[in-house]
């Protein structure tokens, strides 16, 4: 069986990836813009193309709860959600990681109400930064496909055993029709062998999962999970490298574009990175000293890798896709200001919060941001891009 290249909506490509990964239980609830993924998966199950149980749950809270139950019983589990759905899962997201269950979830990133908005930004996942999951951001359809498969390998690695969220921008990415090269099933099967649970619900060997964490053990339980998350960075790097080799691409925790050792760097996560890349290319052609850093792994945050990618830079223009009301700047900028704090050669960090609720941010806008930053005309805290009083 050979690999095939097809023009396909990215949501459907992700569904195909989940099928190729041979997920055994899929529990999901409809929410825009995630729905196409699970619709396609339910079709695979209905047609016998995927031997899985599809649980059409009555809410996202139950989607994650059923995922926890199924993973605890030893199945390979997948779900997908967006926005309000992710917010409704909130409570159970922490429990999934605390119980060390390797669930894979696509988050088709969408803004949070109110006002209600179905369009893209990162408000949903930024409210879930601390759930203890491995969190990846993808930029295009090929990456979405391959990292969905890789996510299972990361999650199920016995050095990790944590859930993984694969973030992809709603509509901007999920609903695009892109050329995607699918690996042969045999390639995927070799890359991703069947899931072997380290612990599962089994009457032959009864285990109590989710006991009461008395004060004398709660802290140790949290520490165990945090350490697993910190240690997962090396496994993510290893799996991404192997995925790169297997699928003939190159995946790093942090990627760079544009002029090497540039003085100014844009920092992006997700598909807006493609627009920034176009802007940076244009600016480089005009002789501007600018490059781009893309964050692929958001949790655990790859501090050394990020700092290495920024070496020599004097200024970071951090594009946030979510607000952190009442704080000093957006969530990604907060993270970066923290990691550079008191570094001797720390770059200046300017923050632009852009593209909230699906607001279009064309390539020209990024060029404008660069010019303003260069003149020192961007706010020291953050700029809410597109709001008149800031422009």
């Amino acid at each position: 069986m050979l690999k095939k290249r097809v023009g396909i909506e990215v949501s459907l490509a992700v569904a195909e990836a989940v099928k190729q990964a041979r997920a055994q239980v899929i529990s999901a609830y409809p929410i825009t813009p995630q729905t196409h993924i699970v619709e396609e998966l339910s079709t695979y199950v209905a047609n016998g193309e995927l031997d899985a149980e599809f649980i059409p749950v009555e809410s996202e809270h139950s989607a994650m709860s059923a995922a926890v139950g199924a993973a605890a019983a030893g199945a390979r589990v997948y779900t997908a959600t967006s926005s309000q759905g992710l917010a409704l899962m909130h409570e159970i997201l922490f429990i999934a990681s605390a119980q060390r269950l390797p669930i894979v979830m696509t988050v088709a990133n969408r803004s949070l109400s109110g006002p209600i908005s179905i369009w893209n930004d990162h408000s949903d996942i930024m409210a879930e930064r601390d759930i203890g999951w491995v969190q990846l951001f993808v930029e295009d359809g090929q990456e979405a496909t391959e990292l969905t498969i890789a996510a299972f390998k990361i999650a199920e690695d016995h050095r990790v055993l944590l859930p993984v969220a694969v973030n992809m921008d709603g509509f901007i990415l999920t609903h695009m029709i892109e050329p995607v090269i699918f690996p042969a099933q045999a390639t995927v099967d070799k890359f991703l062998p069947p899931y072997k649970p380290a612990l599962k619900l089994d009457p032959a060997k009864p285990v109590t999962m989710g006991p009461v964490g008395v004060p004398e053990v709660y802290l140790e339980a949290k520490k165990q999970c945090e350490q697993a998350l910190l240690d997962s960075k090396a496994v993510v790097a290893e799996v991404l490298a192997e995925a790169g080799k297997t699928f003939e691409r190159k995946y790093n925790l942090i990627e760079t574009n544009g002029k090497k050792k540039a003085k100014t760097l844009f920092v992006t996560m997700g598909s807006l990175g493609e627009s920034v890349w176009s802007a940076v290319e244009g600016l480089n052609e005009d002789g501007e000293d600018v490059g781009q850093v893309r964050i692929r792994l958001w949790r655990p945050f790859p501090v050394q890798e990020f700092k290495k990618a920024c070496k020599g830079a004097k200024r970071l223009i951090v594009i946030d896709r979510a607000m952190s009301p009442g704080s000093v700047c957006g969530p990604v900028a907060q993270e970066l200001k923290t990691i550079f704090y008191k570094d001797k050669d720390a770059p200046e960090i300017v923050n632009v919060i852009a593209g909230l609720g699906g607001r279009d941010v064309p390539v020209a806008d990024f060029k404008e941001m660069y010019r303003l930053a260069k003149k020192g005309k961007l706010a020291k805290t953050y700029t809410l891009w597109g709001v008149d009083s800031n422009a």
């Binding site: 119980q99 269950l101 612990l199 989710g210």
Partner: protein, 96 residues
Amino acid sequence: MAKKSLCAWQDLALGAAILAPGSAAKLKTGDWRTLIPRLDEDKCIKCGMCELYCPEFCISEGKDGFFRPNFAYCKGCGICANECPKQAIAMVMEEK
């Protein structure tokens, strides 16, 4: 003084699961008791209702056919005495 941890985090099972089924049996709840059931063997008909209705699951049939609680667990609730069809069990103050 600050409370100590029960074990090092490295020694916890995955997800702080408990691997030893029924290990609560290590906890002797008998010291919760103030009243203690006393069986009158002359009245007892060995029907076993006390065993059925014991919420501690600690009453069992002995070799002699009488049902007696394991006092390591008996919390002294008195259900056995209340349900005994022959009033063969009396709850009395335990001398400790």
